[in-house]
Amino acid sequence: MIDVIRTIFIAFPKGFYTTLKHLFIKPVTIQYPRVKKPMAPRYRGLHYLEIYEDGTERCVCCGLCAAACPADAIYMEGAEKEKSERYAKIYEINLLRCIFCGFCEEACPEEAIFLGHEYEFSNDNRDSFIFTKEQMLANRPVKEKPFKRIIRRVRRIF
């Protein structure tokens, strides 16, 4: 009997007060396509290739990223410029295989490949998921100074 009375006169009002309180809390919904949440600094999204400040590519096509890749998603073919500088003639990442682990980023001795914050790359055919070098170069974030960006990424200082 005591239990019933306690339920009716203490527990019920408490419960109703709680839900009523929550009615006036601001909704946590983010209106996704219109409003986007800023990503965490360490978020690993779509890859991009870094360049030197004079515009030449950093990648020398050493193949370490492809070797480190646990999903075997990276395919590259090297070539040489006239001053025997190596560069990647073909550099492709199969985004359907990629697991976004970030090992390529860690393996890279030239600090050339990074994983950015882009995450909207859905598509309706498999061919579009082969991410080419040109696309990766174009994908560089433009907001910060390149050097700062590299330091921030590689040293993982946030």
């Binding site: 109703f16 929550h22 009615l23």
Partner: protein, 327 residues
């Protein structure tokens, strides 16, 4: 005679349109409010504040495929939504929405028909709705539907008793069964029957929630146990009829509660119909608040609560009222 027929037909049309619109926007209100209770926004894409959402939902339901399961009892299956839908609308026939008004020289009562047994009519008609649920559950040929139907019938049986008894106290005091006269007796704020029959009001509110199969008494459609209970197999407009029927029932029960306990359309400054709508709106909000707060009762808890708490309380209330009124 002809003018009477025309006026009645007009009144019926207006009330049905108003009730169906009310049902549509009750779904909107429910989704909006439950969303806010859960820190969500609720529908906000269709029109300003998502106000066109009910229309979009209606259009979607119309264009859905109408599915009849292979082992369904076809005739009963088709009949069940109608049996649920019609009684829900019928109970509005005796609810007074406002005072007498004079339009184009005619004196028009804001009630479709002022039966002298109005309350009995409402209670008879609203309890017919359960046949729709039971028939739907039985004829669908699905175990979930069947369980929902059985639960619903047992629930209705148990709560019908306390539901009926809860208003007897009011009837004893008022000495009339006509809703119009009941409203007339509650003209002043402190004459409202909620102050003279507080226990009756609480009992009525609880039983009304159980009668309309709403949370926390929504055992008949318990989506977490029975998929959707009695309307699992229904789709398209038949499902819409169940849905509208449920909301029409909610509004009907709220209207009756307003009429019996909250002084009907009486209120200062604003026109009677507005006061009536405000009170019904308040009831609907409480319905949604209940849904957002309480978890569903277990079957045996439901039965215990109905027979061991509500029923004796209602009886006690009736007897005490009768004694006090007699001496």
């Amino acid at each position: 005679m002809l003018t009477f027929a025309i006026i009645s037909a007009l009144k019926v049309t207006v009330v049905i349109i108003a009730v169906l619109t009310g049902c549509a926007y009750a779904t909107w209100l429910e989704r909006k409010l439950v969303g806010r209770f859960q820190h969500r926004i609720g529908p906000n894409m269709a029109g300003p504040f998502g106000l066109l959402q009910p229309i979009a939902d209606g259009i979607k339901l119309i264009f859905k495929e109408d599915i009849v399961p292979d082992n369904a009892e076809r005739i009963t299956y088709a009949l069940a939504p109608i049996v649920m839908f019609i009684p829900a609308l019928l109970s509005y026939a005796v609810v007074p929405f406002g005072d007498q008004v004079t339009l184009f020289g005619y004196r028009i009562d804001m009630v479709i028909s002022d039966l002298n047994i109005g309350i009995l009519f409402i209670f008879a008609v609203t309890s017919l709705g359960v046949y729709g649920i039971v028939l739907a559950g039985w004829s669908s040929g699905s175990k979930y539907s069947l369980l929902g139907g059985i639960r619903s019938s047992a629930q209705m049986l148990s709560y019908e008793v306390a539901y009926g008894l809860s208003i007897i106290g009011v009837l004893v005091i008022a000495g009339t069964l006509s809703l119009k006269e009941l409203v007339a007796q509650q003209e002043h704020f402190f004459d409202w029957f909620i102050f003279r029959q507080p226990v009756g009001f609480v009992l009525y509110a609880i039983c009304a929630v159980a009668e309309t199969n709403r949370a926390p008494f929504d055992l008949a459609e318990a989506e977490s146990e029975l998929v959707a209970g009695y309307h699992t197999e229904y789709s398209s407009l038949r499902f819409a009829m169940f849905f509208i029927g449920e909301y029409a029932n909610m509004i009907a029960v709220s209207s009756v509660a307003t009429t019996i306990f909250l002084g009907g359309w009486h209120g200062p400054f604003l026109p009677p119909v507005v006061w009536f709508s405000i009170k019904v709106f308040f009831f609907m909000s409480v319905y949604i608040w209940l849904r957002a707060t309480l978890p569903r009762l277990r079957y045996d808890q439901l039965m215990n609560f109905g027979w061991k708490i509500l029923f004796p309380l209602a009886l006690l209330n009736v007897m005490l009222t009768a004694l006090v009124f007699r001496f």
